[in-house]
């Protein structure tokens, strides 16, 4: 099947689109709730609940509003990616040593400068770990996209299941598993690369 490659690329793009949207929505949201802590509990509860809705049910429900097609799939993926991204960004930023925040403020950083120079860089490894989890989850869930008229590697898997053709199932399942592993691996590498030497785990930064 020559178009397996095309399907794989499409699958990856759809997953990335879902996670990308979740980043655009989730990171500002997480930063917002670090400033207005009263909103934090509520927001976390909502993202938690969203996460527990079975993916088939969420797809079906969204389909009613958004119709058949990739847009419904991408929005579903975004919703599932929201939790790891919001949670990790939030805990990453709020978990920062109080001393760093006080030092930054006391030296005359504005809130924005504090965020850009200290909070985001220090929380970045944790945020990256959230993105990694989101991406791997999204790749898995995207195989269901075919049920609501979306593309990606779901098509050969489901068709194979209907005609009981295991080689057809595997032609979709194996590339899906492979890109999940590659993403996991690649993002782990990236996570290391964006962690400054001063924050590497071997000798945790004392502050």
């Amino acid at each position: 099947m020559g178009d397996i490659l095309a399907l794989t690329v499409e699958h990856l793009m759809l997953s990335a689109a879902g996670v990308g949207l979740a980043l655009v929505v989730g990171i500002p949201l997480a930063i917002l709730i670090t400033r207005y802590r009263t909103l934090a509990g509520f927001t976390m509860a909502v993202t938690d609940v969203l996460q527990t809705i079975p993916s088939m049910a969420l797809l079906a429900a969204l389909m009613i509003y958004l119709g058949l097609g990739n847009q419904t799939l991408v929005v579903t993926l975004m919703i599932y990616s929201l939790l790891p991204i919001v949670r990790n960004t939030y805990t990453g930023i709020t978990g920062i040593d109080k001393g760093l925040i006080e030092a930054g403020k006391g030296m005359g950083m504005t809130r924005w400068q504090l965020l850009r120079m200290v909070q985001i860089p220090v929380a970045l490894p944790v945020i990256m770990a959230g993105i990694r989890v989101a991406m791997v989850t999204a790749i898995g869930i995207a195989t269901l996209g075919v049920l609501i008229g979306g593309g990606g590697l779901g098509a050969p898997i489901w068709r194979g299941m209907q005609i009981v053709d295991s080689s057809m199932i595997l032609s979709g399942a194996i590339p899906a598993a492979l890109i999940a592993i590659l993403c996991e691996f690649g993002l782990a590498k990236l996570e290391k690369a964006v962690t400054p030497r001063g924050m590497k785990a071997s000798s945790p930064a004392k502050s």
Partner: protein, 375 residues
């Protein structure tokens, strides 16, 4: 430079600072000291508006801080926090550089400043500028914390127990360095500590606080000589009490003078004095309470007539003694004023603890003038 006027900080169920009035002249190093929770940090943070006072005002060079933009204000004030708070994601250079960067200094000027500061504390910039905080020792990190506060040449710096977490040796040397920097740069400094030794060593003036109130503001000398009340006295500590800027009499006495018991025979006493090369011995009982003294001449004169030390010990004029709580200066005054050769030091139970001689006095003076020259 800094003026607190009727400053109060009250929390819902606790008044952290009660009506603080204090003026700090330009260039002075003031140390705030007091037990935990007495409001030192609160006082400090009200200066750079990390905490807003409930009432009263604070002026920096006659500007009410309330009228200043807090961000701009903080960039003008160096700030060293207790936990050091170096940014782990930045190199040493970037850490020192923060305020100059915020102020928009050009890159070369910033780099020059970083190198100059590192050299000032004896850390080779070529080695350290590009390291990360976790690649430095605790003492080095503290130094960077101080340099970071000095970077933009602020006219005022606030330091909250900056050396708290260090071992005594690193602490001493950083104190020396700070003292040195301060006398060179003359930056007005408010320094918080709860270590009296540190306060006495560094301060131009010490502000003793307790439960949100200022108890005494004084130079280290005055504080030692005239503690305002029992709280200050106990905070200074017993062994420093009444001390001149020099020290207590205990520190200048010979701790182990030659003593004899009254039952000792004269010949034995004479031999002992020859052996120890002294011309007087102190006579003590079993509990080492002082009974009297015998000079070598008396011994010589009487050794035909008497058998034991006890029989001849009271022939000399009554001894002048001093209590061990007294200061070295009182001992000096006595020895010089009464032309004494020596002065036994007794504790509150009349037990002999030491002896000040003209010799020990001179060597104590010498070490005060020229540093420790060995006794």
């Amino acid at each position: 430079m800094v003026k607190f006027k009727n400053v109060v900080k009250a929390y819902e169920n606790h008044v952290a600072v009660k009506n603080l009035n204090l003026e700090i002249p330009e260039g002075e190093l003031v140390v705030l000291i007091g037990p935990s929770g007495c409001g030192k940090t609160t006082t400090l943070k009200m200066v750079n508006r990390l905490i807003e006072p409930t009432s009263g005002s604070i002026f920096i060079r006659d500007r009410n801080v309330k009228d200043l933009n807090p961000v701009a204000l903080r960039r003008e004030i160096g700030y060293v926090i207790q936990q050091i708070g170096l940014f782990p994601n930045m190199t040493i250079e970037q850490n020192i550089d923060v305020v100059p960067r915020l102020l928009g200094w050009p890159a070369e000027k910033r780099k020059r400043r970083v190198y100059e500061l590192l050299e000032m504390v004896g850390m080779d910039p070529e080695i350290y500028a590009h390291r990360y905080p976790n690649e430095l020792s605790g003492g080095q990190q503290q130094r960077i914390g101080v340099l970071r506060a000095l970077a933009a040449e602020p006219p005022l710096i606030l330091m909250d127990e900056p050396f708290g977490a260090l071992d005594p040796i690193a602490r001493e040397s950083l104190q020396d360095e700070l003292k040195n920097l301060h006398s060179r740069l003359n930056i007005t400094t408010i320094f918080v500590t709860h270590d009296m030794d540190e306060a006495l060593k560094l301060a131009d003036r010490v502000v003793v606080m307790n439960q949100g109130e200022v108890v005494q503001v004084a130079t280290p000398e005055t504080l030692l000589r005239n503690p305002a009340n029992d709280f200050v006295a106990s905070f200074i500590g017993k062994n420093r009490l009444n001390g001149d800027s020099l020290q207590s009499v205990v520190e200048i006495m010979l701790p182990d003078p030659v003593t004899v018991h009254p039952q000792m025979g004269l010949a034995e006493g004479l031999a002992l004095m020859k052996r120890k090369k002294v011309d007087t011995v102190l006579v003590v009982d079993e509990q080492r309470r002082l009974l009297g003294s015998v000079a070598v001449e008396t011994l010589d004169r009487e050794h035909k007539r008497a058998r034991t030390i006890g029989e001849i010990m009271n022939q000399d004029p009554p001894l002048t003694t001093i209590r061990s709580q007294a200061s070295a200066k009182e001992a000096f005054d006595l020895i010089i004023g009464e032309k004494l050769k020596y002065l036994p030091v007794l504790d509150e139970n009349d037990v002999l603890v030491g002896l000040v001689t003209r010799n020990s006095m001179v060597s104590a003076l010498a070490s005060a003038v020229w540093g420790d020259v060995g006794e």
